[in-house]
């Protein structure tokens, strides 16, 4: 069981805060929307990821526990 970052693209309005707080897993596309690296979070990144989730103004960022399948 591992944890990945996931974006709800419907809720996301491209504030870009997540990419600032978690650049190890999130970069922005040309329009300012987050492109998420699907690799599991390492323990060191966990706190940064939680802060990014809390900072999202539209609550569009979430942490998802993964077993084998990757959500899209």
């Amino acid at each position: 069981m591992s944890t990945v970052v996931r974006v709800n693209p419907i809720a996301c309005d491209g504030s870009g805060l997540c990419a600032e707080l978690l650049p190890e897993r999130i970069r922005l596309d040309e329009w300012g929307y987050p492109i998420v690296d699907p690799r599991p979070l390492t323990p060191e990144l966990r706190g940064h990821a939680e802060r990014a989730v809390a900072a999202c103004p539209t609550l569009a960022l979430l942490l998802q526990k993964e077993t084998t399948t990757r959500g899209t």
Binding site: P9, I10, C12, G14, D29, E30, W31, Y33, I35, G71
Partner: protein, 418 residues
């Protein structure tokens, strides 16, 4: 569409779904339906039969029907069944034609699926473009006496994404027909929170036949991996555009022959509809309607639409039109889909008009839209644009020199008049 015809296929073992349909185009009434297919069988063991038959969803996604049934049957709450007849793709008519000719086969499948998963409510969902079918299904429902089952016919707005499961469920409760973020998937929490089996109408018709004849009968056509038969909309530059029934594995050439053959000469084949891929005529000759086969050409069957583009049409111009349509049909919810599809359509339009070389931009944008939506709309549109750039690469070069090998105009309908 009026020219759609339920032709008798030359293959042995067909027609299945169109067995016994009337030559005058009227629907099979309940009596004639029962005389053709036999009475409604018991739902006992249905999920196992459908799973053993290897039936996959015919709405475009191809998800194994047995697994979906089992997932809904295993839910804690009483489930609901939705027969999905929202067919928003401008080049697909097979669901509408099936409902118009053999409505009770679809309704049998829905009733059996409901009994198998323990549902007492079935919603038959059609979109507004299905004018005639709404009347046919309504009359068919009046004929039926399914014990312990309540039917509802729901008419939802027409749109390319309306048939997407979660968008359809939104429409059914009066919200905009737009996809929702998943999970939860409909089988977990769907209509009014109930576990919901959303199944394409053609899929349900196959369920009705598997329940009667068994999985071995179903597997007598098709291949081991892709068993059975399906309905295909054959459209464009063919003598008799329409809906045809064929086994999986039928050569594209034979399917097009059923539709009277290519009218004039073909410029390209669009296989799998607007989420599909262009294939050049020479390559299409060696392909069959089988995903395993089409994958070699980068194509997939989707909901089974095959469009023949006449050689006289400019493929690049057609592609730009379809790409613009797909951009406009975005539900408008997800940033990468809204911006990315508009950018991609613009890139194809720039190439088509000879105003510049936008190929590098297009390739970069393709990478930025795939997998970035709440639904698969951006992925399907990206597949289409990518294949346009590949198959019409020569045409792009011509346009960059200010020339064009064909004509412009709407050879492929995009339904913008709706």
């Amino acid at each position: 569409m009026s020219s759609a015809s339920a032709a008798v296929a030359p293959e042995a073992g067909l027609p299945r779904l169109f067995a016994g349909v009337r030559r005058d185009g009227l629907p099979l009434g309940l009596g004639a339906h029962a005389a053709t297919h036999g009475p409604l069988p018991s739902p006992r063991g249905l999920i196992e039969l459908v799973t053993a038959g290897g039936l996959r969803g015919r709405g475009g996604g191809g998800f194994p029907a047995g697994r979906k049934l089992a997932a809904v049957a295993g839910a804690r709450r009483r489930p609901v069944v939705v027969a999905n007849g929202a067919e928003g793709e401008p080049v697909s008519f097979k669901d509408k034609l099936l409902l118009r000719r053999a409505p009770h086969l679809v309704l049998d499948g829905a009733a059996l699926a409901a009994a198998a998963v323990g549902a007492r409510e079935v919603v038959v969902a059609l979109d507004r473009s299905a004018g005639e079918e709404i009347g046919v299904v309504s009359a068919a429902l009046d004929e039926r006496r399914d014990r312990g089952l309540s039917w509802r016919l729901a008419v939802v707005p027409t749109g390319f994404v309306t048939g997407e499961e979660t968008a359809l469920l939104s429409a059914l409760v009066g919200r905009d027909p737009k996809p929702t973020f998943t999970p939860p998937r409909p089988f977990e929490r769907g209509l009014r929170g109930a576990p919901t089996l959303v199944q394409n109408v053609e899929t349900l018709a196959h369920v009705a036949l598997i329940a009667r004849h068994g999985p071995d009968w179903f597997r007598a056509l098709g291949t081991r991996q892709e068993p059975g038969s399906a309905l295909f909309t054959v459209f464009g530059a063919v003598a008799r555009p329409g809906v045809y029934e064929a086994a999986f594995g039928t050569p594209i050439r034979a399917l097009v022959e059923q539709a009277g053959g290519v009218r004039g000469s073909a410029g390209a084949f669009l296989i799998g509809g607007f989420f599909g891929s262009w294939v050049d005529p020479a390559a299409a000759q060696g392909l069959s309607v089988l995903d395993a086969d089409l994958a070699r050409a980068g194509a997939a069957l989707g909901a089974g639409a095959v469009v023949v583009l006449p050689a006289a049409a400019c493929g690049l111009d057609q592609s730009a039109r379809v790409a613009r349509y797909l951009a406009e049909e975005s539900a408008g919810q997800c940033g990468p889909c809204v911006h990315g599809l508009a950018a991609l359509a613009g890139a194809l339009e720039t190439l088509a008009s000879g105003h510049g070389d936008s190929r590098r931009d297009a390739l970069r944008w393709l990478e930025q839209v795939r997998g970035r939506g709440a639904c698969r709309h951006p992925d399907g549109a990206a597949r289409f644009v990518e294949s346009s750039l590949e198959v019409f690469a020569g045409e792009v070069e011509l346009h960059l020199q200010g020339r064009c090998s064909g004509r412009r105009g709407e050879f492929i309908p995009t339904g913008r008049s709706r």
